[in-house]
């Protein structure tokens, strides 16, 4: 049996929000030992829930949505909401967690010892944070010349926007993506914050990190990698940027319309907030579409008789299409059209996704038992490999869950020293009450 591809690689992560953590997840999924270094005094923003501090109100305040916590069985006194966050528990799988307070000298020493025996160090903090902690590459490379350090901030480690604060949504504003999405007939304020930048830059970072390991195997040298999340995401708008550099044309948003002239839209179906997307490219597909509908009279009208005419009468065509789709279930529309060779698919709410025949046939969702959350179905691996079959091997890691392993096994800390570090608020599984970032001065 082959080993997982990245077995034997140790990664230390001090990351925030989503972009850094998703890169850690890919590495952990494929066998790297990923150790999240966290603090009992302050939780990195947007990792274990939306807020750096947690209380009952935080659990209640977030109503539904991706920032929610698992509410069932929450115990106000002993509950640890930071182990129950939907924002974290989807990417926290297969990782390890240890706690240390990097603001104090003893904590810094622990980090030094850990980085000395690691291959990769990922951080996704605002520039300046690592300088303040004394954890820049210049310092770390003296401890471990072979280490690969990756900094992934919103705009990179240089330039006039270096210190700008941004979530994925704000990076997308800067790089032009927000302007390019939304409705044709409404202005850009009719929009929702999406975080494509986290996904795009986190996946790009995964590629870069594994490539850096490959390069290190060839040269024997460590390195510092500066990833600007905005730049990494911009790579996905190639043709819009090229239209400006080649033709000085500003690309405008096209809503749900196709960029290349096909009939396309998102149409209402039967049921509450249920929709289907349809794309009809060729005459052959148009004929298939008409067959699926049983050739109603309007499909024979001259104004829909070729692709050019259909494009010019798209608004009217949309009304006819929606009149038909709104009588049917969204999955039924997909089947009727796909059977006739037409591209169509339902807009899947989470309840649809968990019941989707394709997802279930491929075993995408995996049932995992988490010690504080019980048994649930989680989104699984993003891609499959035939010789190294793989699953979620461990549930989302709890804060400080692997302190014993990291301190005693990896760093060889004695029982006495361990107890002392516990007393001093470095080691533990519960936040230290009343202590927040900024309250510490160097000892």
């Amino acid at each position: 049996m082959a080993k997982l591809p990245l077995e034997g690689i140790r990664v230390v992560g001090m990351t925030q929000m989503w972009a850094g953590p998703i890169a850690e997840m890919h590495l952990a999924d494929w066998g790297a030992e990923v150790i999240k270094v966290e603090s009992l005094h302050y939780l990195a923003v947007g990792t274990r829930g939306p807020a750096p501090r947690h209380a009952k109100y935080a659990v209640d305040f977030v109503k539904g949505g991706y920032a929610a916590y698992l509410k069932e069985g929450y115990d106000e006194v002993n509950g640890r909401p930071w182990n129950r966050s939907c924002m974290f528990n989807v990417h926290g799988r297969n990782k390890l967690s240890c706690t240390v307070d990097p603001m104090r000298p003893k904590g810094k020493e622990i980090l030094r010892r850990l980085l000395q025996v690691s291959d990769i160090f990922i951080e996704s903090n605002q520039p300046g944070v690592m300088e303040n902690l004394g954890l820049t590459y210049d310092v770390i490379k003296d401890w471990n010349p072979k280490i690969i350090m990756v900094s992934m901030s919103g705009f990179g480690q240089s330039g006039p926007l270096k210190y700008y604060r941004a979530l994925g949504a704000h990076q997308e504003d800067f790089l032009g993506h927000t302007y390019l999405r939304g409705y044709i007939d409404r202005d850009v304020t009719a929009n929702s914050a999406i975080y494509h930048g986290d996904e795009a830059s986190g996946t790009t970072a995964t590629f870069i990190i594994v490539m850096a390991l490959h390069q290190r195997n060839r040269t024997g040298k460590g390195m510092f990698i500066d990833i600007s999340q905005t730049e990494a995401t911009m790579l996905q708008l190639g043709e819009a940027i090229m239209d400006y550099t080649m033709n000085k044309r500003i690309t405008e948003r096209t809503g749900n319309r196709d960029l290349y002239g096909a009939v396309q839209g998102c149409y209402r179906c039967r049921g509450e907030d249920r929709w289907v997307c349809i794309t009809i490219r060729t005459d052959k597909e148009w004929q298939g579409f008409c067959r699926a509908l049983g050739h109603p009279d309007w499909t024979r009208e001259d104004k829909f008789s070729d692709a050019f005419k259909r494009w010019h009468n798209h608004d009217e065509l949309d009304k006819h299409i929606e009149e038909w789709t709104s009588q049917h279930d969204h999955f039924a529309v997909m089947r009727m059209l796909q059977n006739e060779g037409v591209a169509a698919g339902p807009v899947e709410h989470p309840d649809d996704a968990y019941n989707d025949p394709q997802m279930n046939d491929r075993g995408f969702f995996e049932t995992v038992t988490h010690p504080e959350c019980g048994t649930h179905r989680y989104p699984g691996l993003a891609y499959r490999m035939s010789k190294t079959p793989n699953h979620i091997r461990r549930p989302a890691v709890r804060l400080g869950e692997h302190n014993e392993y990291v301190y005693k096994h990896i760093l060889g800390v004695s029982d006495e020293e361990y107890a002392e570090l516990e007393k001093e608020g470095h080691i533990g599984m519960d936040l230290v009450p009343g202590l927040e970032i900024g309250k510490y001065k160097a000892e």
Partner: protein, 401 residues
């Protein structure tokens, strides 16, 4: 300067359109020798998609193709002929990676499935990128950018509540599928080098969306945990201190105020909001309307994007201008970091396009050659396989290349 990190990697690239070519672009730009195989006469369908240089719809002038295929060598080969298949197998012997993004039935139907190619080259990493994956009831279904996002992604919560769900911009879903395929392929290559195992990597675009951290995965888990569906809503309409996209003097700005950063918003506006309207518990719709009408809109409407964003960032409030591609090209940040790359192409001349994904002296990124003309490297590649010039003439006449 260090050698390019993938200069020891060879790739046979059967990809077309966006997702597949974006995968192999990462490898080519970092030094891999990527041989792109196109259909004789027609080539990659992306050659027929715009935008075109000076709006001339010529197969060597597609901006999409020119961007996605930098640093690749191009050959033509008809995979449906016996000779074509034989040549392909010859090529497979000598590469580390093969990437394809045909519909899943195509490679088996022409006798070039992984099981066959594995016998030719046991260390081969073969990556197949498809809409729904190599298996399952949807494997032959057709799809498009919007359909993949609708089925796999968080489209149900993208847009505003009183309208239909709306897709992301341009073709980012397919690009992202290609980026994910590049990461998967790199991981598999690492295993091939370390352990000597080749394997078949199965990338489903629907699954790349279903496992996206753009908030899709968290929304899935929120439903599983609490049985609650996330609503599709306009964040600007939430009961919050300014949060969302707002019109300003010269366009639009995005400001993330909210409750968590109330003290910072107070510093931006120089108004004691907490005192005037109260915090989380006292802020209601009536108070919000007064706040937005008398304080927020007057403040933001009389400022330019730059002024508003600078004032917010100075108070540590996350904010950004809504840029067009023109604004982006003029943004000093990316120029100062040397982000933009240039290439000289024999037909369209000098091109400017997005550059390196990361900045690192040990990982040099470079455009060594522009995207290939159709069949540009036929002679070079086929003669290296031992074919003579006379053979090439025959192959051309037989429409094999």
């Amino acid at each position: 300067m260090a050698e390019q990190p993938l200069s020891d990697v060879r790739i046979l690239d059967l990809t077309w359109h966006i997702a597949g070519p974006n995968c192999t672009k990462f490898f080519a730009d970092y030094g891999a020798d990527v041989i792109k195989v196109e259909k004789p006469g027609e080539g990659d369908p992306a050659r027929r998609l715009g935008p075109f240089h000076e709006d001339d719809p010529h197969p060597e002038k597609s901006g999409l193709f020119l961007y996605l295929n930098t640093n690749k060598r191009g050959i033509t080969l008809n995979l449906k002929t016996q000779t074509g298949k034989r040549i392909l197998k010859d090529l497979v012997k000598d590469v580390d990676i093969l990437v394809e993004n045909f519909s899943p039935h195509v490679m088996p139907s022409i006798g070039l499935d992984y099981e066959t190619l594995e016998k030719v080259n046991p260390k081969l990493v073969m990556t197949s990128v498809s809409n729904f994956g190599q298996t399952g009831p949807y494997r032959s279904f057709k799809a498009s950018e919007i359909i993949i996002y609708g089925m796999g992604g968080a489209m149900c919560t993208t847009g505003v509540g009183d309208c239909e769900p709306v897709k992301k911009g341009m073709n980012v879903i397919q690009y992202q599928g290609g980026t994910m395929a590049a990461a998967a392929t790199m991981i598999a290559l690492y295993a091939a080098r370390a352990q000597g195992i080749g394997q078949h990597v199965d990338v489903s675009l629907m699954e790349t969306q279903m496992s996206s951290i753009d908030r899709r995965m968290s929304e899935l888990l929120a439903y599983e945990y609490n049985n609650e569906l996330t609503p599709r809503m306009d964040i600007a309409g939430l009961l919050q201190y300014p949060y969302g996209i707002f019109p300003c003097a010269d366009g639009y700005v995005d400001v993330a105020g909210g409750f968590m950063f109330l003290n910072r918003i107070e510093r931006v506006l120089k108004v004691p909001l907490m005192e005037k309207y109260g915090g989380v518990n006292q802020f209601n719709m009536e108070r919000r309307e007064e706040f937005m009408g008398t304080i927020w809109y007057p403040w933001v409407m009389e400022r330019t994007r730059r002024e508003a964003v600078e004032a917010c960032q100075a108070a540590r409030v996350m904010s950004a201008p809504i840029n067009t591609t023109e604004d982006l090209l003029k943004e000093p940040q990316f120029q100062e970091r040397g982000f933009w790359a240039e290439a000289d192409h024999p037909v369209v001349g000098r091109l400017t396009c997005p550059g390196r994904p990361a900045l690192c002296t040990e990982l040099p990124w470079e455009i060594r050659r522009p995207a290939p003309l159709l069949g540009e490297h036929n002679e070079e590649v086929y003669t290296s396989l031992g074919y003579s010039k006379e053979d090439l003439v025959k192959l051309r006449e037989g429409r094999i290349i």
